[in-house]
């Protein structure tokens, strides 16, 4: 097997898939909460979606940390800048929700959703780049 094919076929945890599932759960929670404005959504549903998303993110990070052969240098190089970018994007959205006088559980859950979003996207980008290095 050549070095070329090794980078495309080597076995790694399903980080991209788990990131997409985690993101889908928080985006789903966000869509549900916003669609219920101005009344309060069913918080059990939202807590379940956000909780599952957090759980998947933690499992994903754990699986990735335990990978032996991985280009961590490139991974860290990419994740630090993408984290900065997505923190700015999430920050702007949080500012808008706060500006719109959203408060209580709804605001807390939207912030949690945006934090998860700002973690999942950089993790996915950095993993995709580093896995082929």
């Amino acid at each position: 097997m050549t070095k070329t094919s090794e980078v495309t076929v080597r076995k790694l945890p399903p980080v991209t898939h788990l990131c997409v599932v985690s993101m889908a759960l928080v985006i789903g929670a966000g869509v549900y909460m916003v669609s219920e404005i101005p009344s309060n959504p069913n918080y059990s549903i939202v807590f379940l979606l956000v909780g599952l998303s957090i759980l998947i993110f933690v499992i994903n990070a754990f699986l990735l940390v335990n990978v032996k052969t991985f280009n961590w240098k490139v991974f860290l190089q990419v994740i630090k800048w993408t984290l900065l970018a997505y923190c700015v994007i999430s920050g702007v959205l949080i500012y808008i929700f706060v500006y719109d006088k959203m408060s209580g559980k709804s605001l807390d859950l939207l912030i949690a959703s945006l934090v998860l979003f700002a973690l999942n996207v950089p993790l996915n980008i950095a993993f995709t780049v580093a896995r082929y290095q």
């Binding site: 070329t4 094919s5 980078v7 495309t8 991209t16 990131c19 997409v20 993101m23 889908a24 985006i27 789903g28 966000g30 869509v31 916003v34 669609s35 219920e36 404005i37 101005p38 009344s39 490139v74 990419v78 800048w81 993408t82 970018a85 700015v88 994007i89 702007v92 959205l93 500012y95 808008i96 500006y99 719109d100 996207v121 996915n124 980008i125 993993f127 995709t128 780049v129 082929y132 290095q133």
Partner: protein, 199 residues
């Protein structure tokens, strides 16, 4: 496109360092756009909010449809070196343009809907608004979960002295598979937005 790239496993790269993955000059424009968006929201100017939503949304839809159905097939018929050269100049710009355009569209749209009282659940056209949230959610998942990571990874590969065509081909497949989904979602967006604008 991907099959053609895969045929040549190693694509010689004559000038490996000639491009920046994130164009630094472009960051100035992104910064200006984000600050202007925040000013528009903070001043609650209907015109400014509408401007960000309409201009951002139009750019997002047109770029997606044009890339997926016009430029994509043309690129697929170009020679591998020509495709690599185009990608090196084009994708770094898209890396800055798309997130900025999406942020302006969504933030502007949310504020516009609030301004016009359309966010409220008993608003007559509220189901159309919820449909637009779902469409945006699907597009966000495709763009952020699949396309943007592939975009950045392709640029890193093209930065190498000898880019690996197999890796590029594998990543580019994501663009081909998602073009149909993105196109369908953008057409749905056009239907929903024209319905909301005329109701």
């Amino acid at each position: 496109m991907s099959e053609l790239l895969a045929e040549e496993v190693r694509v010689p790269n004559s000038e490996p360092d000639e491009f920046q993955i994130v164009p630094k000059v472009g960051l100035i424009f992104v910064g200006v756009a984000v600050i202007a968006l925040l000013v528009a929201v903070s001043t609650n100017s209907l015109w400014a909010i509408d401007f960000f939503h309409v201009v951002g949304g139009a750019a997002w839809t047109i770029l997606d449809l044009f890339l997926g159905f016009v430029l994509g097939p043309i690129l697929g018929r170009l020679s591998i070196p020509a495709r690599a050269e185009f990608t090196k100049r084009f994708m770094p710009k898209m890396l800055l343009i798309m997130p900025t355009v999406v942020l302006c569209t969504l933030a502007g749209g949310f504020q516009l809907a609030k301004h016009e009282g359309r966010l409220i659940a008993h608003y007559p056209d509220h189901p159309w608004l919820v449909a637009s949230y779902i469409v945006v959610a699907v597009m966000a998942l495709v763009a952020l979960g699949l396309l943007e990571p592939a975009n950045v990874a392709v640029l890193f590969e093209l930065k190498k002295p000898t880019p690996n065509g197999e890796v590029i081909a594998k990543l580019m497949k994501r663009f081909i598979y998602s073009a149909g989904v993105t196109g369908a979602m953008q057409v749905a967006t056009l239907i929903i937005m024209t319905k909301l604008a005329t109701s």
